[in-house]
Symmetry: C2
Subunit: 137 residues, 2 copies
DNA sequence: GTGATTGCAAAGCGTTTGCACCGTA
DNA sequence: TACGGTGCAAACGCTTTGCAATCAC
């Protein structure tokens, strides 16, 4: 991941730490959350650098913004080329999933609506296995 | 629609106009856009009232927030109980569509991920028939 | 009449920008 | 050494809040 930073960008502490935090998080984080975590490792980091790193990572498609009912300011690492997300509504744990099962539906809606459909976002919300276990206690 | 306002809320000019604008719009509008349009009909309306009306309409499930790559501050009237949207990326025209074609996919992902899936959002992006015609000129 | 609603102004919050200093390549 | 990157402070834009005046019921 840091390799891709060598895409013209210099490797600095703020960038290294922001990337590391995002890469290791199972749930989407917003700028402020990243900043709080980053300060633990590198006290003099500025919130501004977090914003600027997020911006670059998003341009390089290394992270993507996650849309939830509560807000859409958090980012998750990893890009599959599709916006197929599975989000735990308890702990926020977010996974990607694959599947072209939508082709039939898309074809049907395209026909009915006369739209030429170019892209789709599918987000599933639920409870992950860890949180299911916690609930039963 | 105004009837549902009689859900305990008084019928005032700012509310009537905000509701009317949202109900008649084919594309999602944000608070500021509603405010601009509302001023044409009722010059002394305040932006604050638009925000407060949006808040109430959202609580009553008469409008819903629309999430797009460019932002998620716009609202569209109409609630189907499902977040199934079809959005034109040219003009913003937004339609709802129906379909339970997702059950199989959801069952599969549920099995593979061990998540209990409770809800889903599906948004299709494309070009509406009007914009297709404009493009060919 | 009275209490909900309004509009204004100010506060609040997340994000971006200007700028001088710093640190990577 | 050069210039990309940083952190601070200020600016910014959107949204919310406090409050007295207003208006629907």
């Amino acid at each position: 991941m840091e390799c891709l930073q060598a895409n013209g960008y210099r490797l600095t502490n703020p960038r290294r730490i922001t990337v590391e935090i995002l890469a290791n998080s199972k749930r989407p984080l917003n700028a402020s959350e990243i900043y709080q975590l980053a300060k633990e490792q590198y006290a003099k980091i500025g919130l501004v650098s977090v914003y600027r790193t997020i911006e670059k990572l998003e341009e390089l498609n290394l992270i993507q913004r996650v849309h939830k009912p509560e807000g859409c300011h958090a980012y998750i690492a990893g890009f599959t080329g599709h916006q197929h997300l599975l989000i735990c509504t308890k702990c926020g744990k977010t996974e990607f999933f694959e599947g072209d099962d939508l082709q039939q539906l898309i074809a049907r809606v395209s026909l009915e609506s006369n739209f030429i459909i170019q892209d789709h976002w599918l987000t599933l919300f639920g409870i992950c296995s860890d949180c299911q276990q916690k609930q039963s206690h």
